[in-house]
Symmetry: C2
Subunit: 149 residues, 2 copies
DNA sequence: CTCAACTGAGTTGTGCACAACTAATTTGAG
DNA sequence: CTCAAATTAGTTGTGCACAACTCAGTTGAG
């Protein structure tokens, strides 16, 4: 029987670590005028441009309730444009503007800054990443079983 | 030079894992009518009752901007009461109501459910918790250096 | 003793995260 | 061919998380 002590709980460690990292990103991203979730969307688009909202949602595990207003803000900031698909009027394709593409240069150094802050070597990052991915999958499977979508 | 690829980044793994766990808590806490941050406050109070808002904030790393409305909701739900300190009128002490104390019984099983969902043994939990704590400390120290509070 | 600086809680405003919903469009079973 | 079901974005409402602020109360340098 696990205890109810805050210190014992992995979830609180996860919650704290996630907030700490986000708060570091806040400082680092100030220069680019991006929030962390906005940065994630830009990363996805820098990797592959011209994506459907649905595809971005699948990659980042975010629904339209989160993405729609976020993308609207990115468009207002002049970083992306949105176009309804001609062949399927339900879909919206998100593309980088020139400003959005150019911003990639300013972002080049960010991963190294974050890496340095974590003081983990490449192997440590890979191992932790693998453990977190396993954890995420396991927890999501359990939740699906408890409360089917 | 680290890449800008989303898949490579530990931070995204952390972000995903944290959201997965929170979403499991959402299901598990439905019964208690608590959100995850509210549950954290209740955990802190079950461990030690009659705490100042300032103390809760220090333990959970939350400021009054987050805690004040959260505590107001817990009070509205009848789980806690708030009293200005007589000896220092700036401070507010948060105490469990009888309902709030009783709720602890309903929460007893939660850590085991979460533990099961993570499919980690006790040693695995302890190790990961230690790594996350180290990561949090390292990242926070780095951020402090970049942007002094 | 005084008052400027500090402290603790609360408020306001912004942006996620997510549930629940709407609206428009597409698809496919019959 | 038709229309009910499914799909895709978007909207609305709630609750964090946090910056920036207010305000009352306390403290301590001079």
């Amino acid at each position: 029987m696990a205890s109810l002590r805050l210190d014992d709980q992995l979830c609180f460690g996860l919650y704290s670590a996630s907030r700490a990292v986000t708060s570091l990103y806040r400082v680092v991203l100030e220069d680019l005028d991006l929030t962390y979730p906005q940065y994630l969307v830009m990363l996805a688009l820098w990797e592959q441009d011209h994506r459907l909202v649905k595809e971005l949602g699948a990659e980042l595990n975010l629904d339209s309730g989160t993405l729609s207003p976020l993308l609207k803000r990115l468009q207002t900031a002049g970083l992306v444009v949105r176009n309804r698909q001609a062949d399927d009027e339900r879909s919206v394709r998100v593309s980088l503007s020139e400003t959005g593409q150019a911003l990639r240069e300013k972002a080049q150094g960010i991963p190294d800054v974050i890496g340095a802050a974590m003081s983990l070597d490449e192997a440590g990052v890979a191992r932790m990443r693998a453990e977190l991915d396993r954890l995420t999958e396991s927890v999501n499977a359990y939740r699906e079983a408890l409360a089917p979508a």
